[in-house]
Symmetry: C2
Subunit: 281 residues, 2 copies
C-alpha cells in the first residue's frame, strides 16, 4: 500500500495520490520506473537504482529533469513523511499530461513509499514452484511499466499454484515477471545475459557469488534446466528465493541447494553491513 507519494516534488498521503486521466503513462503506457527498498530504514542500493532509472528514461526518450541528488533528497523526504522503517520505494517517470492523448508536453516524476512485503523466510526454506511461459518482453532492458502479460496470466499462475512465471523464448530461458533467474551446476552459477531486465539484486548476487563460485552470464538453454543441480530467483522485494520446481519438472533434489543457501547468506550479510553512500538525515 502506498503510504506517501511525491508528485513532481510535492508530497501527499498515499490516499490522496492521484494523477490526471490525461497522463501518457495511463493512456499510452509511456512510463518507466524503478523499485528499491530500505534496509535498516535507509534506501538500499538507491545509487544503483538511480543509474538504471536514468538509463531507462534516456532509452525511452523521457526527460528526467532532476539530478541524482535531488531525487535522493525527495526519496528521503517521502520516506520520512511515510514514517515507514521497512519500505518499498518506487520511482516512476510518466509521459505526463497530454492535451490530445498523444502529444508529449512535460514528464511527471512520482516517488512512492509503500509497505514492503519481502518474500517470507518460509519460501527460502522450502523453495517455490514456477510456471513456464513462452514470452519475450518488449524492450526487456528498459524498465517500462508494461507488465500486462504477467497480469493477464494471473489466473493460470493461481491455477497451477505457482509462485511466478518463468519466461522463455526460442529455447532460451529468460527471466521471471519481476525477478531474475539462476541455475547452479556443481560450483558454477549461471544466469541469462540478454533480453532480460538487469536486476540490481542480480548484479549484487553475481558479484558476491564470484568471490566463492564460478559465475557465468550467458545464453541459458531450456534443456539446461533438467541438468541443473539447483535454481533460484532474485528480486528487490524477494532477495533470493530457491526454485524447487518448474512446471512438473523438479530441479535437482527439489529442495533448496547448498550453493543457493550459501549465496543467500552472503547476500544477507552484505545487506546487514550495507551503508548508503550519502545521507539526508
Amino acid at each position: 500500500m502506498i503510504v506517501s507519494c511525491c508528485i513532481n516534488g510535492e508530497i501527499v498521503p498515499g490516499t490522496q495520490a492521484s494523477i490526471p486521466v490525461s497522463d501518457l503513462g495511463l493512456l499510452r503506457g509511456y512510463a518507466i520506473f524503478d523499485f528499491c527498498r530500505t534496509a535498516h530504514g535507509k534506501p538500499f542500493l538507491l545509487e544503483k537504482h538511480l543509474v538504471r532509472f536514468r538509463r531507462s528514461a534516456a532509452l525511452m526518450e523521457l526527460p528526467l529533469n532532476y539530478t541524482d541528488e535531488e531525487i535522493t533528497k525527495l526519496v528521503y523526504d517521502t520516506l520520512e513523511h511515510s514514517g515507514l522503517q521497512e519500505a518499498g520505494i518506487r520511482l516512476l517517470l510518466t509521459g505526463g499530461f497530454t492535451p490530445d492523448s498523444f502529444t508529449f508536453t512535460e514528464p511527471t516524476l512520482i516517488i512512492t513509499a509503500e509497505h514492503l512485503a519481502l518474500a517470507p523466510e518460509k519460501e527460502v526454506q522450502t523453495g517455490v514452484k514456477l510456471m513456464s511461459h513462452t514470452y519475450l518482453r518488449e524492450m526487456a532492458e528498459i524498465k517500462t511499466t508494461n507488465y500486462s502479460e504477467a497480469l493477464r496470466l494471473r489466473h493460470q499462475v493461481k491455477g497451477q499454484q505457482a509462485y511466478d512465471i518463468l519466461y522463455h523464448h526460442n529455447g532460451h530461458i529468460l527471466e521471471l515477471t519481476r525477478s531474475n533467474f539462476f541455475i547452479v551446476k556443481g560450483q558454477t552459477i549461471i544466469t541469462p545475459s540478454d533480453h532480460i531486465l538487469k536486476g540490481i539484486t542480480r548484479r549484487t548476487v553475481l558479484d558476491l557469488a564470484a568471490t566463492v563460485y564460478k559465475v557465468e552470464e550467458r545464453a541459458v538453454l531450456w534443456h539446461e534446466l533438467a541438468e541443473a543441480d539447483e535454481a533460484f530467483l532474485t528480486g528487490t522485494n524477494k532477495r533470493l528465493v530457491p526454485v524447487a520446481k518448474v512446471d512438473d519438472q523438479q530441479i535437482g533434489t527439489g529442495k533448496p541447494g547448498k550453493v543457493t543457501l550459501h549465496v543467500y547468506q552472503l547476500f544477507r550479510e552484505f545487506e546487514k553491513n550495507y551503508q548508503p553512500g550519502y545521507s539526508f538525515a
Copy 2:
C-alpha cells in the same frame, strides 16, 4: 482535451478527472481501450467499437462488468455532459486499484468525451509522408494502452517531417502507430491481415470498397510498396488519408490517387447517412 469523464459511472469535468497512482493501468500498463467519435453529434459505429472493446477485455482477462447497453448509456450521458457536438469518445478499462502494485482487485471503467481533431482536409488533398520503422506490436490484436514505442520515436518522426510511423517486421508491412495501411494496385485494394489492430474504419472502408473494387486482406510484403500505384491509411480520427511517400520512396505519382479519393468519397457518404442503431436522446 478531455472535457467530461465518467469514472465507474460517475461523471466529472475533465479538469477533475483523475485516478489513484495505485492503479494497475498506470503502474503495470494493465489496461485496454477503444476510441470512437461522433458524427452529427451522435456516436459513430459505437456498436462495433463495443464488440472490439469487449474482445480486448476478454483476451486481456480484464472483467468488463457492464452490458453494452449500460456502456452506451454512459457514453450518451458523458457526451451530453460535455456539450460537445464533434467529440472523440474513449473507453478505457484499467486493472484498477492494487494494494501491492501487482495484485488485481477490481477494474476501473473510464469513459471520456474529448475535443476531436479530425485529420484536416488539406492532408487528403496532398497526401502525407510516413517514416518506416521495424517493429512488431506485442499482442497487436488487443487494443492495449502500450504505445511507448510510438512515443519514444516522436523526435525521429518530427525530424523526418513525417506524419506517422509505418511499422514493418520480417519484410512484412503491418500498420501505423494508430492507423491501418492500404496499398492500391490497379483496381485492387490490399491491406495486411495479421499482427495488426483490426481497425473499425479499416473494416468499413474494406466493406465499402468491395462494392466497387477487388479487396485483399493478406500478408503484404515490403517490396510491394515500390509496385503500388497508391497508398492510404485509415483511422477513427483520420477517416482516410492518402500516403504520398514512405521515407524517401514516392508512392505512385506521389499524389493522392483516383481509387483512394473515390474510397474516401464512399466513406464520407456512408458517414453522412449513418444513423446509430440505438438512442438515449
